[in-house]
Symmetry: C2
Amino acid sequence: MTVDLSEGAGRTVPTLASIAERVGVSVNTVSRALRAPNTVRIELRRRINAAMEELNYVPNRLAGGLSGTRSDIVGVVVTSLYYSEFANIIDSLQLALLEHDLQVMLANTRYNADQELRLVRSILSWRPAAVAIIGVDHPPKVVELLKAAGIPIVEMWDTGGDVIDTAVGFDHASVGAAQANHLIAQGYRRLAFVGSVRENDKRAQKRLSGLEAAATKASLPDVVKHTAQQGGNPELGERLATELLQSHPEIDAIACNSDVVAFGVLRALRKLGRRVPEDIGVIAFGDNEAASCVSPSLTTVRPDRERIGKLTAEAIVSRINDVTPYTTLVEWELIARESTSRMPPPSPS
Amino acid sequence: MTVDLSEGAGRTVPTLASIAERVGVSVNTVSRALRAPNTVRIELRRRINAAMEELNYVPNRLAGGLSGTRSDIVGVVVTSLYYSEFANIIDSLQLALLEHDLQVMLANTRYNADQELRLVRSILSWRPAAVAIIGVDHPPKVVELLKAAGIPIVEMWDTGGDVIDTAVGFDHASVGAAQANHLIAQGYRRLAFVGSVRENDKRAQKRLSGLEAAATKASLPDVVKHTAQQGGNPELGERLATELLQSHPEIDAIACNSDVVAFGVLRALRKLGRRVPEDIGVIAFGDNEAASCVSPSLTTVRPDRERIGKLTAEAIVSRINDVTPYTTLVEWELIARESTSRMPPPSPS
DNA sequence: TGGCATAAAGTTACCGTTAACGCAACGATC
DNA sequence: GATCGTTGCGTTAACGGTAACTTTATGCCA
């Protein structure tokens, strides 16, 4: 069970004390040379740095975090890592946090509420300086723990409802409404919704609700839903679309919960001989990197993931510096492409 | 600069001592109730657990890690988080580590060697139980630090060369060779290579070398290379392919460093009126989720990312338990699709 | 030249947990 | 009934830093 320290690595990992001894100063002086260099004589500082370099000293942040007041860890809790759904958020978040010497500790709940509780607990046990978490809907116990931690909590991706502390995201219901309205404007009337809508994916549910509300408002027939609990992928989209059109051949537009599912939907429609966008329109959500490259190119909604990551980092730093909690709305954009372009573009009169 | 503890959270975070006091036992007994429950009387244990529940106790792993011998952190160093290149590896790695209560601490070097050194140092400062890192080619100082840490180091994605400790990956040169051989078998002769090949992306360089070696071996003319240092995306692929065919119209096959770049290459070819696969073949690497959904569907190489993540977790656990270092070769698969299917499939005689 | 602010280094007391050790109470053994 | 191994819990000393405080050396000014 012990970690292997074989082949000559028998010597122990250097500590502040090793450095201090070697240079002939107290431990605290070495610590100061790191934290507050200008309180140590320049010449002594140089000798200390040389010793650190020589011994390959790496500070022990466990000890630092325990002793000091700062911990430098930011817990990041996402619901999925699959495909690029949240990877780009983590990417830009991590880059921005790096400038403040904050380290990302990652957890992935896979849309599982029990797992979420366990992982949040686990993250908190590292006494992070802040926690960034996907979504604003969490089990009560999770909310309780996060609140009790007394650290900044930034909820990402979604907004609205009971924000624990600070939020950086957008309103998913209005995304759904925009999807419906775009389809309607393009002349589609019999809408369907297809994709992976997991029990704990409140965002997907909100988008669907927004879509349905807009359809109702436009006096359209009820949106036909055909969803699954499993994760979204092209194969799922292909299957769901095939089944959907078998039972509901009248459908003339399919909104997909994600681009990846839409890719499969497009494939199904091709196999079924339904022309897109003439016979059926397809709209999705996510702006996958391939959305503009499939044919027909996919109309979708592009949330600005890089910006969410960057703004989340800013929010974390602000909150650590005692700025009051706030909510930031992040822009998203409906990108109309071939898969829904039934109407000729308005004449530029 | 201090963390906000506003609105009634004035009370301090509970510690083992709080629990101990409340139950009327020593701190160590509470600690034991967590670590070795069967050394504490069942009735007492129940009271301790009740107190923990009531106070929302979350153990402080900084303290635990400092005091004990175990640290429960696994540092994961990747070169990119963009798109799904490594996200799925992290995903399956994290899931597998979870079973052993190991927490992922993430760092992203963005193919920057200086950043890699800084991040490895930062990760090591958390005294992780192990480090998983993309690639087997690292700056000397990084290797030195990782070796000196005296913990299991698992290098992922690539193999060969000087492995620090343990590796889980595949040989990228043979991927390149397979790509070339597939193109050749399909009747293509004038090969080109296109994509993002960053200075620190040794894997891309190895694939390219393998491709060139195979082309040379088959007595083909030199592979025409048109690469960029920036990250790969469809726009890059579109630009590079357009430029390539302007200067080298004789090219009849393009190997791409990544699927995402290939998506743009396909778009460029469509715009240029070159038929794929008849006039030009396109092969890529990565098996992006959309590869089977673009048209023509993309021939590509699929590395088994889930398996790499899973096997890396296994390697970490094995190494922590003192199993000797080893290297695992992970399978990859060339998936022939429409973009290179110039030859009729061999008759099944 | 004495007095005092200031700079530079040392002392000491934690931070919250684990691990080694100690010790009392108890049942089994001969 | 003295000996001995268990069981169950308490005591104490780290772990490697940080921060508050103290001490010593130095310079400056009246």
